[in-house]
Amino acid sequence: MKKLVVNGLRKRFGAVTALDDVSFGVEAGQLFCVLGPTNAGKSTLLKIIAGLYRADKGEIDIDGEAVNYLLPHERQVSLLFQNMALFPTLTGFDNVAFPLRTGGVTESEIADKVGVIARLLKIEHILSRRPATFSGGEQQRVAIGRALVHPGRVLMLDEPLTNLDARLRIELRIAFKKLHIERNQTIIYVTHDQVEAMSLSDKIAILKDGRLYQLGTPDEVYHRPANRFVAEFIGSPPMNLVRAELSEKDSILYAVGNGFTVPISSRHTALLSASPPQNGVAVGIRPENVEVGGSESPRSPIAAKVMWVESLGSKSILSLEVGNALVKAVVKPTDPIQKEHRAWIGFPSQALHILDQSTDRFVR
């Protein structure tokens, strides 16, 4: 039995559709990520699960029982808000202790639990002060502490790391992972940062404009994106997508674009023959799969111009002009091609994804 099941959720605010037929399930102990750009409906989704908003349509089940008609405190979930919502008249300690106080826990137990969380989040020194005196990062950590101290059946975190410095973000990411594994806590984690989502999740739901674009494990959304949006959203740099037309020559199917011709694998050929695209295709290839060479060769037959290089230390990213499209490729930081103006690249057919332009979905 799944821990949380969400089925057919719909929510409108006046003329704006916040959620449109969203369904997914979360297993017990899973770290489930809801990933998407701002205004995708992610916060609305969490608030509906928590009971702060009522969905226009759809059911929510926790531990097998419907919670649609339960008040928030009856659902036994925990939610960290995007804007933190710390109680301004309470000290840091009282804020973190708040969820425990309404449950009849003894004061010494409260002090213990708050202490553990405070040590983990490095907020012991500010517990006696009020939120008005905290920095942005401190406020965020106190809010995280309040959500963690009594996580309930499902712990929901709405962009918990966005206000923090890059260093602290990385530290806390691992802390979350640790917490999740050690306590086997079911977590729903909302973010717009796909790096966070990939790093932490067991499963990712990609949301945009209230609709679910793909639901899958990190490997699935990375290696088998369902549509254009997912392919361009996941991965840094994102997948290259270049327009091409299909043409057959000597009974081999090719994708012909501006400045390149690549053969298509037999698997894709079979799929494309079964349902031919109406409006041309786009070939998709991730930057790390692009072959790069200094001279024309069977593996790198496509001429390209090196527009610029980003040296990120552990790797370098070339931005290459092919025809009138921009293609990014990843090379080793020591690769001499970075200093050149011209390069030769290749799109290996086994790493190629084919996108049907009329549906914006990948052919699989």
């Binding site: 939610l79 919502a85 710390l86 109680f87 008249t89 905290f134």
Partner: protein, 296 residues
Amino acid sequence: MALRISTLGLWLRRLAVIAAMIIALFPIFWLVSTSFKPSDQWQQWPPVWVSARPTLQNYRIVFAPQAAHAFAAKQQGSIDYKVSGSAWKAFRDSTIISVCATFFSIVFGTLAAYSIVRYRTGGENYAFQFLMVRMFPPIAVVVPMLVLFSLLHLIDTYLGLILAYTAFTLPFSIWMIRSFIEDIPEELEGAAMIYGMRPLQAFLRVTLPLIRGGVLATALFVFILNWSEFLFALTLTTGNIVTVTLQVANYVSASSGKLYGVQAAMGAISTIPVVIFGYLIQRHLVRGLTFGAIKR
């Protein structure tokens, strides 16, 4: 040259402020001054600014008509006053009605505002629709109100006036408190709800304390409206209930004559409760309590 112009500007501004202050405070001054004048100076022209012969007789009449009567009999040249009713009753009646009506108006107004803001009751413009009710002059509804109240046996009762005043100040309460509630992000109540409180509990214990200043300011405003209300007090009572406003009117009537000095005394005194109320709550009219709790 530039310096002189700016100094001139400064003095002009100061002059303007002084003029505004004089205009605003003159009625109060005149009220207090007249309240200490003997009867022959009440309508003197040119006007007597500050009486050379101040007397407490007007105040005596306000508070103790019998004693004043006796005093007047002993004085040469003073008018015999025939005044019915003591100001004490007026103060008592006004206090009961104003305090109760203010209380109900604030309580219902707060709950209605909560419902409108957090639950979007009544749609987009519900609060404004309430406010529109107050845009026609009350005199237009006085006659129907009279009929309605007499059918309900509410004429000349405390309950009647309290209900009428509550009804007529409710739109202001809702409108003002609504804006204070909107200032507080709903996530604050959301957090309280998720961590154990029922919705209304969360509102009363988390949000309400944060808007305390605003609610008190609204209460003051409503109290002033109730305290100074005349039309309904006049039409919905027949003599048993006398509010301060009615009592003030009584001093200039066919039966008692034109007792302007007494009227001034009553008027001066009746501003006092409002001033005290305002003074008491000014400490609570401080904003800035939510600073830092919410990320904007």
